[in-house]
Amino acid sequence: MKAAVTKKTLLKSLSVACIAAMGLSSIAEAAGTKLLIWHAYRGEEKAAFDQVIAAFNAKNKDAGLEARALAVPYDAYADKITASVPRGRGPDVFIFAQDRLGGWIEAGNTVESIDFYLTDEIKSRFIPATLESMTYHDTVYGLPLNYKNITMIYNKKLVKEPPKTTSELVKVAKSLTNKESGSYGLAYEYSNFYFHAALMNAFGGKVFEPGPKPVLASDANVKSLEYVMKWYKEDGILPTEPSSGLITTLFNSGKAAIIFSGPWTLGEISKDIDYGLAVLPTVDEAGGKPMQPWMTVEGVYISKPSNLKDQAFQFVDFSTSTDAGKMMAVTGRQTPANKLVYDLPEIAADKQLSAFRNQVENAVAMPNLAEMTAVWSPATTAMNMVVKGAATPKDAMGIAQATIQRAVDALRNKK
């Protein structure tokens, strides 16, 4: 008798649980045409993106199309996409920087190619390099939303006229450097490969040749490293051990006249400093070519397993439109990849945004190859060795190149 009772209760509770689970899932799925969008924005950037979503929903209300945004914490975001999108458990649209794009394309079933939807009208509204960073082997996989790159930030009190060439820069910087009081004419994270890339690109250096074949130890790269070592050692215009924190502190205390950094620094500059933004100088030693920083581009992608691709593209198109770009520039203080935004009077009047817009003309898209993640750690080691004088640029880069080559070979099955 007792056993029978237990059995019954067990069955009952089981069936209750089942019904509850079914009810829950049916509530979640009972939706119309709802687009799910993942992003990792926070603060004012999130506020701006929510505006874009609201505008999109207002526009498509009659069509019964509704976009819903989900903010995913950044730390887990990339892994979440990698794990859930290919299994059909992801969103319809997601936003991410271009550095993971190549990996996702090669892994398959993650990013939909959107070449087919692209008209000349759509293509022509972007700054060319930003669209290029969304392109993998001549196929476009997403539309660029915002970009970030470094530019020159100078203390107006110390520097009257921003230098246009490196000779001018060195001259100005030398006159403002006083090592005893700890002031420097120029400060930037020159031992960080991302920041160094601006000089590397000016000298015509690269990370990968097609193949992909790492060419870190190429003559151009070595020259660019020797050049930055000249700034550091011979001219003595750079501080030792540069870190982002140090550079901000120096600039805020008026001890660094010029810094190279990105929009992320602007929020940290103290209110007492009157600063200006200018384009990075041209490098006389590289035949007058401009310094070309790498840029990271946030792209908006359609997930391959999505069932609402056409609607998803409507959103991709809308989010990169001039209207949406304006919201992101005004509310989010972001720099949209849509160049038409900068023609709007209120944006053109904004010195900050137009300064980054001017710099992006000379920016290079950071490679979107999957192998790029294998570059950072060897490159950082090599840069540190060079800056500390533990190895010549050629040797240090040679070691890094060999390490990366091994990683590439292991991946692409080249024996």
């Binding site: 056993a3 087919f116 193949g211 992909p212 051990e241 950072w376 991946l411 692409r412 099955n413 080249k414």
Partner: protein, 675 residues
């Protein structure tokens, strides 16, 4: 009947099940493998045909690429269909301007007459074309045949859709898509051998076990004979039955490969003749002719690392011959694989038989019956353990035998199977030193360096954790100490805060410019230390962080043990004239041992795999020298994307911990015995 009693019965059931299992699985293995090979073979033939057609299309397109409709394109397709009755529809798509140039499917003419632009519904065709172009470009760039330069898709009702690119000036300009019925010959072993295998050993067993050899009176008296004899008989019968069955299967399986390959080459020659006929019939000029090297990549059996410089890609295909040597080599490995899996099936059957013969099956059934409800209640736990623990664990170990990485993660694991290659290359990293111009440098990326670092890390941490924890516990154990509870709460705090938060705080404290530690050093007139620049100081930062994290645990454990020591022992010692050190050495320490040893054993395991601290504090700097095994495995998996290699790394970590736990068992036994 006496026969149906005891061990004879177990053996009979076991033998039946083993034979049914072996027969079913064996037929399945052979038939599946054969069907797969036949399908591949048929696919290769069909792909060659599509490529030949693509070559002709490219010839037609080359005449005047900009003009539409393309001259002769429609007639070429029609003629082609006359030769190939299995072909249902053909489509030709041009990438530039995304145009559908020609088609034999009536549905394609619906929106508008051909040639026309692809409609929004035909995005799949557009994407397909660009995928093919990408595949050709990528292969050319990398110099290997990593991607297939065609795509196939199985439709319902036996149709297969094959798409192959056509090139103009060596660039992919579009593609040809053919839907055709794939002619796969029906072969395979029927169910008869399996049925025979299931019945005959059992019948023989029943018959033989009635003979006097088994039923004699003295046999029945001896328990051993009663058990051993029938088991032996069943074993021999299983071996015999499966031996015959396996050799029959392999015999049926092998020997076809040569014929298939010959057929393919013959098909290739026939195709050349057809192309020539179409040329003649349509009166096409010779400029229509492509280079005819189209299908060669699929004509020959493919070796795993087929290079693009391989002459098989570039030689003209007019005099294609059968490559006997390659075929017999491939055939040998394929047959070997089938043989291996058949013996695997045999092993499984033998296990099944043993399981029954020894009586485990009966015992298992009885226990299960008796504790039915117990099993029902723990079923959720069993299932969740299976799903959450054992499956990922097994998957990880399987992965470690593959070469899986981001580029081939979507392929089945068996396709990237490399056996022990990962293990060999990890364990074979004896190059601890790399030679440079200024002498040799330690190679921090070597497995053995990381292993050494992991050991040093573990031992150092346990020493720090135990000594600090024990010291604090002794201090807190002082009688009449005021605010004891307050101290205890404060000292446990480091343990209560999530360890990654603590790790990030410590990382900040070791910062060269702004870190609290360097500030203090400067306050006393020292010069700031670049903590992450040398292996030793970088290691110290990790050690300090983890020491901070691990002492509270040791303290709590020791404190508990200290409080349980009988005070009268100290009293007696004092009466005997023992000093403080002697009291500690001969009373406190031995009494702490039974509690401390398990705690140390646990903390060794935790520290060995302490990912958070290493990853967040030193991050392996400088140059990966302070990396431990887990963080290294993480970097291989998520920075280099080599999943198989990283899985092998993790399996080795697991192996080390298994060895450790074996020793640990002995140690804990010894320590409890001592007590």
């Amino acid at each position: 009947m006496k026969f149906w009693k005891s061990f004879s019965r177990h053996n009979a059931v076991g033998l039946l099940l083993a034979c049914v299992l072996a027969g079913f699985l064996g037929v399945l293995v052979v038939n599946q493998t054969q069907a797969q090979l036949l399908r591949q073979h048929a696919e290769r033939g069909a792909i060659m045909q599509v490529m030949a057609l693509a070559d002709m299309v490219s010839g037609a397109m080359r005449q005047n690429p900009a003009v539409e409709p393309v001259d002769n394109l429609g007639t070429i397709l029609q003629e082609w269909q006359l030769y190939h009755l299995e072909v249902k529809t053909i489509r030709v798509v041009k990438l530039d301007g995304s145009r559908l140039l020609a088609s034999t499917a009536s549905d394609d003419f619906k929106p508008k007459a051909l040639p026309r632009k692809l409609t929004p519904d035909e995005k799949a065709l557009y994407d397909l074309g660009h995928r093919l172009r990408q595949a050709v470009d990528i292969n050319r760039e990398e110099g290997i045949q990593r991607k297939e330069e065609m795509e196939k898709e199985y439709l319902t009702d036996g149709l297969v859709k094959i798409s192959a690119p056509y090139k103009i000036d060596d660039k992919v300009a579009g593609f040809v898509q053919v839907s055709a019925f794939l002619n796969i010959p029906e072969t395979g072993i029927g169910t008869l051998p399996a049925i025979l295998l299931a019945i005959s050993p059992l019948l023989l067993f029943i018959l033989l076990s009635q003979t006097p050899f088994f039923t004699s009176a003295e046999n029945r008296k001896s328990a051993t004979r009663l058990v051993v004899k029938p088991s032996l008989l069943a074993g021999i019968l299983l071996l015999l039955g499966l031996g015959v069955f396996n050799s029959y299967c392999i015999d049926k399986y092998s020997g076809n490969r040569q014929n298939w390959e010959r057929q393919l080459v013959q098909g290739h020659h026939d195709q050349q003749a057809q192309v020539a006929n179409i040329f003649e019939k349509l009166n096409l000029p010779d400029t229509y002719n492509g280079n005819r090297s189209y299908s060669l990549a699929y004509l020959y059996i493919r070796t795993p690392a087929l290079n693009r410089e391989d002459p098989r890609f570039s030689n003209a295909g007019l005099d294609a011959k059968v490559d006997e040597e390659a075929i017999s080599e491939v055939e040998k490995t394929e047959t070997g694989l089938v043989r291996k899996s058949l013996w695997g099936v045999f092993a499984l059957a033998a296990l099944t038989l043993t399981f029954f013969a020894v009586g485990w099956a009966a015992r298992l059934w009885n226990t299960f019956n008796r504790y039915r409800y117990a099993y029902l209640y723990i079923a959720p736990a069993i299932i969740s353990m299976l799903v959450l623990v054992f499956f990922p664990f097994g998957y990880g170990i399987t992965l470690s035998f593959t070469d899986s990485n981001i580029y081939n993660a979507s392929k089945p694991l068996l396709d990237t199977w490399v056996w022990f290659k990962n293990y060999v290359s990890i364990l074979g990293q004896f190059d601890l030193f790399t030679k440079t111009e200024d002498g040799s440098v330690l190679n921090y990326s070597s497995f053995y360096w990381t292993l050494l670092m992991t050991f040093i890390w573990t031992i150092a941490n346990v020493i720090v954790g135990v000594s600090v924890g024990l010291m604090l516990a002794l201090a807190l154990n002082t009688k009449d100490l005021r605010f004891k509870t307050l101290y205890r709460v404060i000292l446990i705090l480091p343990w209560a805060i999530p360890n990654y938060i603590t790790a990030l705080i410590w990382k900040g404290m070791f910062h060269q410019q702004f870190g609290a530690i360097n500030q203090v050093i400067q306050m006393f007139g020292g010069s700031p230390v670049a903590w992450y620049d040398s292996t030793f100081t970088s290691f110290l930062t990790n050690l300090a962080t983890n020491g901070w994290l691990s002492f509270p645990f040791m303290m709590v454990i020791s404190l508990g043990a200290l409080q349980s020591i009988d005070a009268s022992m100290y009293e007696a010692a004092r009466v005997e004239g023992a000093g403080r050190w002697q009291q500690f050495r001969y009373i406190t320490l031995p009494s702490l041992k039974p509690t401390l040893v398990p705690a140390i054993i646990l903390s060794v395991v935790w520290t060995f795999n302490m990912f958070n601290v290493i990853y967040l504090v030193s991050g392996g700097e400088p140059a990966g020298s302070t990396e431990i095994l887990v963080t290294k495995a993480y970097k291989i998996a998520f920075e280099e994307y080599r999943y198989g290699y990283a899985a092998a790394y993790s399996t080795i970590i697991f192996g080390i911990l298994v060895i450790y736990s074996v020793f640990q068992n002995r140690i804990s036994k010894a320590s409890s015995g001592n007590n």
